[in-house]
Symmetry: C2
């Protein structure tokens, strides 16, 4: 099998090189789609955790998995805001955000609080989960209030 793997790997790597170039020259609409898609994924994962915090659903393995996803997405989300993407048509982020220390700090706060949420969600304490959901939500609200244009 080994001799067969090498050509396939070469083909895959050739494709990746193209993908790498494509990323370096990512179209503005691709960057915006990534940005908005990542935040839709954050919402998709955080929403059902909020329902658990409200007592509308039981704390379960699904809650813990979504909290892990959220913590990962918090780390990835800044990739949706590369330098030079301040004025993409259809973007909802104030261009001034890119120059603000609070914007970067806001992501770091989201990352820290969602990492804590991922830990809390592994336990069975709904009150602790509720408190930490609130802490995460505050980081969302802080950045949205400051930097979302609409």
């Amino acid at each position: 099998m080994k001799f067969k793997l090498f050509p396939i790997t070469a083909i895959v790597l050739a494709g990746l090189a193209t993908a790498g170039v494509a990323h370096a020259q990512a179209k503005p609409e691709e960057t915006l789609k990534m940005r908005q898609g990542l935040f839709q994924a954050i919402k998709t994962n955080f929403g059902p955790i909020g329902a658990v915090a409200k007592g509308e659903a039981p704390l379960s393995a699904d809650t813990a998995a979504r909290a892990e996803n959220l913590a990962a997405l918090a780390k990835i989300a800044p990739m949706g805001f590369p330098a030079g993407s301040e004025n993409i048509a259809g973007g909802k982020t104030k261009p001034e955000a890119w120059q603000k220390a609070e914007f970067k700090a806001g992501f770091e706060a989201l990352q820290a609080e969602s990492a804590k949420l991922a830990e809390v969600a592994k336990g069975g304490d709904v009150n602790a989960l509720k408190a930490q959901v609130g802490a995460v939500g505050k980081t969302c609200k802080a950045c949205h209030d400051s930097f979302r244009a609409e």
Copy 2:
């Protein structure tokens, strides 16, 4: 501080409840944006790892971080394909995919191989990285060949 936290938490939870409802009734275009945004994020993270595998960039902490991101995104990506999203306008996935065991298995293969890549990327062995990049790339190609409409 504690008495101040509770009203804020209540506001956040009220917002989340709305978000939860919004998710349950996610618009088709939101689902598609999430799907395509997640795959753009996969490309954004996998591309530079491929460059390392090709010897175009050094294996670094950035490589390991991107591999962690990729492994997380592989777990999240199936959320872009919920039941009922087979025929969203602008989608590039063959509607038959939702009925195929190979489609689910394809995501599981991507998840398994990218989790291995995250482990390999923590080490300093570029040849091992190259082999595992090839293994991940094969899972991408398999699903794209079978289920991508264009």
